[in-house]
């Protein structure tokens, strides 16, 4: 069945080996094309498990997952060409320079020659890293690492971009540059799936969100509309606390 959803998750359940409790409990989710979709939840809620399933890294016990109408189980190789990932860790080679890392990643996606050089230069300029292109990643500051990590995920111009906590632990300036760039990408047609603990950031960035807890989607919709519909809550954080409770999540 063809539709206009970038992502469609239907009744997914995931139980890790040796675990009695499911990490995901029969969740369903649909993200339209060209959205910036925030998947929010406390630690251990099931955000990373969901992202890993969407990227094809994890098998699931039941349900179906489609990306651009392609089945994650059957069409993973086609899906790999249209998605990008910015993991929470700085998934780069520390002893290689930014340029060497990006050239390797570009080549792996089949990009080469002047086209690749132009694309790397464009991304480095956009995120303010052009002067540091020849420095090894291990010499970068936290903010610079986050920015180069983002570039590595979008170098091949994916249609759908997964971002797992892309702004964690960085200064305000770097965060602003990253968020502005994500808006730019979205304007150019990239669907963004984003997880974060920064609810204010999600409120401003996302066109729609889902709050997940204990492996279940507990609410879903436009963040502005959510706040307006709940008179007693003035921001996303208060709604989040209301829905997920105040107990600590250490696991």
């Amino acid at each position: 069945m063809e539709d206009n959803f970038a992502i469609r998750i239907e009744n997914i359940t995931k139980i890790y080996k040796g675990s009695a409790e499911p990490a995901l409990r029969n969740i369903s989710l649909a993200v339209p094309q060209n959205e910036i979709f925030g998947l929010l939840g406390p630690n251990g809620a099931g955000k990373t498990t969901t992202i890993n399933i969407l990227c094809g890294f994890l098998k699931f016990n039941s349900g179906e997952v489609y990306i651009n109408n392609l089945s994650v189980e059957k069409d993973l190789n086609k899906i790999k060409r249209i998605v990008g990932l910015v993991p929470q860790d700085i998934a780069l080679y520390n002893t290689l320079s930014a340029w060497e890392n990006l050239r390797f990643i570009g080549n792996m996606y089949g990009l080469k020659g002047n086209k690749l050089k132009a694309r790397i230069n464009e991304c480095l300029n956009m995120l303010g890293l052009e002067k540091s292109r020849n420095r090894q990643i291990k010499t970068y500051s936290g903010g610079m690492k986050r920015r180069i990590n983002l570039i590595a995920g979008i170098l091949h111009e994916p249609k759908i971009l997964f971002l797992d906590e892309p702004t964690v632990g960085i200064d305000v300036q770097s965060r602003k540059v990253i968020l502005d760039y994500l808006h730019e990408l979205n304007k150019k047609g990239t669907t963004i799936i984003y997880t974060s603990h920064y609810l204010e950031e999600a409120e401003n960035l996302c066109s729609s969100i889902a709050i997940i807890d204990n492996g279940e989607i507990i609410t879903q919709g436009n963040p502005g509309e959510m706040i307006e519909s709940e008179e007693e809550y003035t921001d996303l954080e208060s709604i989040f606390i209301h829905l997920t409770g105040r107990s600590l999540r250490d696991n």
């Binding site: 990227c55 094809g56 890294f57 994890l58 098998k59 190789n77 790999k80 060409r81 998605v83 990008g84 990932l85 993991p87 929470q88 860790d89 700085i90 998934a91 780069l92 080679y93 520390n94 002893t95 290689l96 060497e100 050239r103 390797f104 990643i105 080549n107 792996m108 996606y109 089949g110 080469k112 090894q136 590595a152 995920g153």
Partner: protein
């Protein structure tokens, strides 16, 4: 091809920027081969080429004492010491010095040892020329043997102890034969007077000649270099598992593997590039260690490493060993979850496989059970392959079974790594 070449380039860049890794991969193995060959050189030299100080007390002061003293002094591998701190040695001092480990061996020739030999020889010859048919047991008992005493420090190896004892026995039997011969000729001359006196000839009628197995092209004389270079080369090649497992785990810990997994068809390409680069590393290690044997060790007076005529066979067994080591490294890197696990298990397992594989102790002197176990060690297959070329002058046909086992081990370990990753979905 672009993906493969860029992956190879990436691996090379990572490798050459890891200075500690480079040291482990290239410098440490060279140092290891260098040191081990030098140390073990002495075990391959003739015993006569080594020198040992021995405490010597001659209470006999007769033919036997003198013969043993002269024999030991002329043996070339023993220097005798008859005094300590300006005083002549006595039994008590010898025991004390050997007990304290100041000297490793003490020899005491007892008083009247020569007399005992002489008396017995005279009696036997007298009996031979008398009318009595045989010597009774009772009569024989009166010639109680004189005891030459050897004191050994417990640190002395059995083989060395045995060599000293055999050398001593040779001198004793020699002098015993001479005394018996002299008495016998005296006795004969009493019955058959002659101007032609018989003389004792200490040289034997039979000599032993050592020959090494050789092929039709050349003869390779085993020496410390021919033995040690292949042994420690195999050992060092397997140590690539430390940087290789580190590389795999680092890629997993940094999350880079996630990014690689999301790239179309990259799994096999990235792994193949890694295998190629580490094969190259092993091969460079191999060439460097051959250089140690051909260029550096001879500078210190050791023999030059002879490569033999079968260079292609040498390359094949080197590549097969490298493949085997790489496969093992990839399997460990996949299964281990931390650097500590990989490094400790990796290095200990290589040491165990080296020990049972005959790298340290030749397999033929191992107990039966260990000899059977040794055939499961890939280091043993590599070592036997190299020995076939370096020591037995073998060619391609001789090394193929070992190369086959090594390549088979590589395929098995990579298959296990792949299955483990698939089963655990571990990134």
């Amino acid at each position: 091809m672009l993906r493969f070449s860029t992956s190879v380039y990436k691996e090379i860049l990572i490798l050459i920027r890891d200075k500690a890794g480079i040291a482990i991969l290239f410098i440490m193995p060279m140092v290891l081969v260098f040191v081990m060959t030098l140390i073990q050189d002495s075990t391959f030299r003739k015993l006569e080429e080594t020198s040992l100080m021995v405490l010597f007390l001659d209470e006999d002061q007769d033919s036997l004492g003198m013969a043993v003293e002269n024999g030991l002094m002329n043996s070339g591998f023993i220097n005798i010491k008859k005094t300590y701190e300006g005083k002549l040695l006595d039994r008590e001092t010898i025991i004390q010095l050997v007990t304290k480990g100041k000297y490793q061996i003490g020899i005491i020739i007892p008083a009247s040892a020569t007399g005992t030999i002489r008396n017995k020889a005279e009696y036997l010859i007298e009996q031979a020329f008398s009318d009595v048919d045989s010597i009774t047991e009772e009569e024989n008992l009166q010639f109680e043997p004189a005891k030459v005493i050897l004191y050994f420090d417990p640190v002395i190896k059995y083989s060395f102890r045995k060599s000293v004892r055999i050398t001593l026995e040779k001198f004793i039997y020699g002098i015993e034969s001479k005394i018996t011969f002299d008495i016998f000729t005296d006795e004969i001359s009493r019955y058959i007077p002659s101007d032609n006196n018989l003389k004792f000839d200490p040289t034997g009628s039979i000599i032993i000649e050592e020959r090494y197995i050789k092929d039709k092209y050349n003869e390779m004389v085993p020496n410390s270099v021919q033995h040690n270079i292949p042994a420690w080369t195999v050992f060092a090649m397997f140590f690539i598992i430390i940087p290789l497992t580190g590389n795999i785990i680092k890629e997993r810990e940094s999350g880079s593997i996630l990014r690689l997994k999301l790239m179309p068809g990259s799994d096999l390409i990235v792994m193949s590039a890694k295998i190629l680069v580490y094969l190259l590393v092993c091969f460079i290690q191999f060439v460097l260690m051959l250089l140690v044997g051909i260029v550096f060790l001879p500078m210190l007076g050791l023999p030059v490493l002879e490569l033999g005529p079968h260079i292609l066979a040498l390359i094949i067994i080197a590549i097969a060993t490298a493949l085997s080591a790489t496969g093992y490294g990839i399997m460990l890197g996949t299964i281990a979850t931390t650097h500590e696990q990989a490094a400790s298990f990796g290095s200990v397992s290589i040491i165990i496989l080296a020990a049972i594989g005959g790298i340290w102790v030749p397999i033929f002197i191992m107990p039966d059970i260990m000899q059977k176990i040794s055939i499961i060690s890939p280091l043993n297959w590599g070592l036997e392959g190299f020995y076939s070329i370096f020591l037995r002058g073998g060619g391609i046909r001789d090394i193929l079974p070992y190369a086959g086992l090594l390549v088979g081990f590589c395929i098995l370990t990579m298959f296990l790594a792949f299955q483990y990753q698939r089963f655990h979905k571990k990134f």
